[in-house]
């Protein structure tokens, strides 16, 4: 089965972390088209003009943080059903809770090893790209 290239927007102020995750994802699925932005405002601008299949979102960012951006994505008609996966350094239950409450589809803590990133990338591709089951409550328009 030929895969149609999927587009992923990575929103992370930390260039190292963005590089780690981009590298791991590319190694698992080289058809993935990954765009990295370091600022929430930039993400809003990109989402307005381009189509993305997924958003990978850090929540602790300078200026407008990821939680605010997530809320904005959910209230914006064009992006309200885009799967958003929170990838952040925080493991605090309140951040997990707040993320899901704001409309996150998944939550993962940033790994601190290459194998950790590889596992994350594999899980991401298996669940979100190979598997066409939509997340609960989401209606796909295709």
């Amino acid at each position: 089965m030929a895969k149609s290239p999927k587009r992923l927007l990575v929103v992370d102020d930390n260039v190292h972390d963005a590089r780690f995750v981009t590298r791991a994802l590319s190694q698992i699925d080289d058809t993935l088209d990954i765009v990295h932005v370091i600022h929430a405002d930039e993400a809003v601008a990109r989402l307005e003009h381009d189509h993305f299949d997924y958003v990978l979102l850090d929540i602790k960012m300078p200026g407008v943080d990821g939680m605010e951006l997530l809320e904005r994505i959910r209230t914006n008609e064009g992006t309200s059903v885009v799967p958003v996966i929170v990838l952040t350094s925080s493991t605090s239950p309140s951040d997990v809770f707040r993320s899901y409450k704001a409309g996150a589809n998944a939550y993962a803590a940033k790994p601190s090893s290459l194998s950790g990133y590889r596992q994350f990338a594999e899980a991401f591709v298996r669940f979100w790209i190979d598997n066409t089951l939509p997340p609960r409550g989401v209606v796909l328009h295709q």
């Binding site: 190292h16 972390d17 600022h39 602790k60 300078p62 200026g63 940033k110 601190s112 090893s113």
Partner: protein, 501 residues
């Protein structure tokens, strides 16, 4: 059947009349008494008839009172004004309500006086007991610390105690039975007795209407209102079955103050807890990120060495070193921040001008390099910790220099002014400014607005530190969002330190 004999009928009536009847002549000598009178006073007819009227009165005073009342023609229909103490033959006494009818001849001369004396001992005793009970109640009410009053169905004051007079404040001395609840309320309101309805407040009428509503249709729930002199009173109005309204006023100032203090403490605690949560979350994030990177890059170096990618190895090594440096900076900042106590222990007179001059010489090299023009106005003197205030000023001026605009010659202005018991220190620049959306967030620990650490370096501690220093001096700091030329920070400090909180 015999004809109706009127004389016989009246004689029978006289003989059987249940109340004592005594007939006096003009000289006030007893001329006749019915059997009830003889029985009541305990005399045989022979020992009673022909005696002066004085005989049946308890003493001269009582007899003279009777004579005076007769001359004054008091209203005998009322027991209160026509009751005398009478004495029986055996010396025992009783209260009698006397009603008299004079017999007048054609010339208007009084021939005789018919007196009916009804024994009202039981009644008098009851009245006396009632009076005593009422006096007792009044005395009890007066020593009650709670204000107590009763209004009738027409909202007129019937009964009130001493505490109620005090509680009515300026209306207290004007209280009298008959005054209405609304009059009392308005009298006190005009004199500023209710802080929520001062005479010059626009909605005092609505407030008074609200209070009256609660008086007229009480919902049986006590309310607490603020009164003059920062007193709090629990106000309870109760409608009774007979249409009266009982009002209770309890001074709950101490309770209310305790409650307010508790609420303040609760809020403070909540605030501190939030701050602590925020603090730990931020600290863990900012410490964990470089740590994670160190672990990642060392692993990558391992992989690259195995693969023989020499170029990649040195890049990763550089990143690793940078991450370690960054972590070091975060730890230093954190130690810096935690060393500043929430409450300073040493304070002295501090001249802000001296501090600004020191700061300019410390930052001088950096400022000359950036070609910064300083405009320093008159600056106040305050009390505080000179070292902490120096760091506060240094952080603000340092920021003003750091966030200069690339396209204009940087200007930094420092001014001061006194506002009441406080002084304001204003530091403003014509730099890149701060998005008003982040006016409060910039003071949080490790909050940075700029991603590019190479252009605008720092760990995001400066303003958090400034805020903590201002607060440790019982002051505050805020970003003036109306200022759009650059950034303007306003630090407010008390002129004198309060030694206790």
């Amino acid at each position: 059947m015999t004809a109706f004999d009127e004389e016989l009928v009246f004689k029978a009536l006289y003989e059987t009349f249940p109340d004592p009847v005594i007939i006096l002549d003009a000289e006030r000598i007893i001329r006749s008494a019915n059997p009830a009178a003889l029985a009541q006073f305990g005399y045989a007819a022979a020992a009673f008839i022909g005696r002066p009227a004085r005989l049946i009165y308890s003493d001269d005073d009582e007899y003279n009172r009777r004579l005076r009342n007769r001359a004054a023609r008091v209203d005998e229909r009322i027991a209160r004004t026509s009751t005398y103490t009478y004495v029986r033959r055996d010396g025992s006494m009783f209260s009698g309500h006397l009603r008299t009818t004079p017999l007048i001849d054609a010339a208007g001369q009084e021939l005789a006086l018919i007196g009916i004396i009804r024994d009202v001992s039981d009644l008098a005793k009851a009245v006396l007991e009632r009076q005593q009970a009422s006096d007792m109640l009044d005395a009890a009410l007066d020593v009650m610390p709670e204000g107590f009053a009763i209004f009738d169905a027409e909202e007129r004051l019937l009964v009130y105690n001493r505490a109620y007079v005090t509680i009515c404040g300026p209306a207290g001395p004007l209280l009298r039975p008959g005054i209405t609840a609304e009059e009392i309320l308005l009298l006190a309101q005009k004199e500023g007795h209710y802080p929520e309805a001062l005479p010059d407040s626009p909605d005092w009428q609505a407030w008074v209407a609200h209070r009256l509503q609660d008086f007229r249709q009480p919902d049986n729930r006590a309310k607490i209102y603020r009164y003059a002199g920062d007193r709090w009173l629990r106000v309870e109005n109760i409608k009774t079955k007979d249409g009266n309204t009982v009002v209770l006023r309890v001074d709950v100032t101490e309770l209310k103050r305790a409650e307010l203090a508790l609420e303040r403490q609760r809020q403070e605690l909540e605030h501190k807890n939030e701050a602590l949560d925020q603090f730990t979350a931020t600290v863990s994030h900012d410490l964990k990120a470089p740590l994670r990177h160190i672990s990642m890059f060392s692993e990558m170096i391992e992989d690259e060495l195995a693969a023989g990618n020499q170029d990649e190895v040195s890049a990763s090594a550089r990143h690793l070193r940078d991450s370690a440096k960054r972590m070091n900076r975060v730890i230093d900042s954190l130690l810096d921040y935690s060393q500043i106590a929430y409450q300073i222990s040493t304070w002295s007179d501090v001249n802000i001008s001296d501090i600004v001059a020191d700061t300019l010489s410390v930052l001088g090299g950096h400022a000359r390099e950036a070609n910064v023009a300083f405009e320093i106005g008159a600056l106040p003197k305050v009390q505080g910790d000179p070292e902490l205030l120096r760091r506060l000023v240094q952080n603000l001026i340092g920021n003003a220099i750091k966030y200069r605009h690339p396209d204009r010659g940087p200007v930094v202005r420092v001014n001061g002014r006194a506002v009441g018991q406080q002084v304001e220190l204003v530091v403003e620049d014509n730099g890149i400014g701060i998005d008003p959306r982040f006016a409060t967030r910039i003071f949080e620990l490790f909050q940075r607005l700029h991603h590019d650490e190479s252009t605008y370096g720092g760990t995001g501690i400066g303003l958090a530190l400034a805020k903590r220093i201002a607060e440790s001096h019982n002051g505050s700091i805020h970003l003036d969002t109306d200022f759009t030329e650059g950034a303007r920070f306003v630090v407010t400090l008390p002129k004198r330190m309060r030694k206790t909180r």
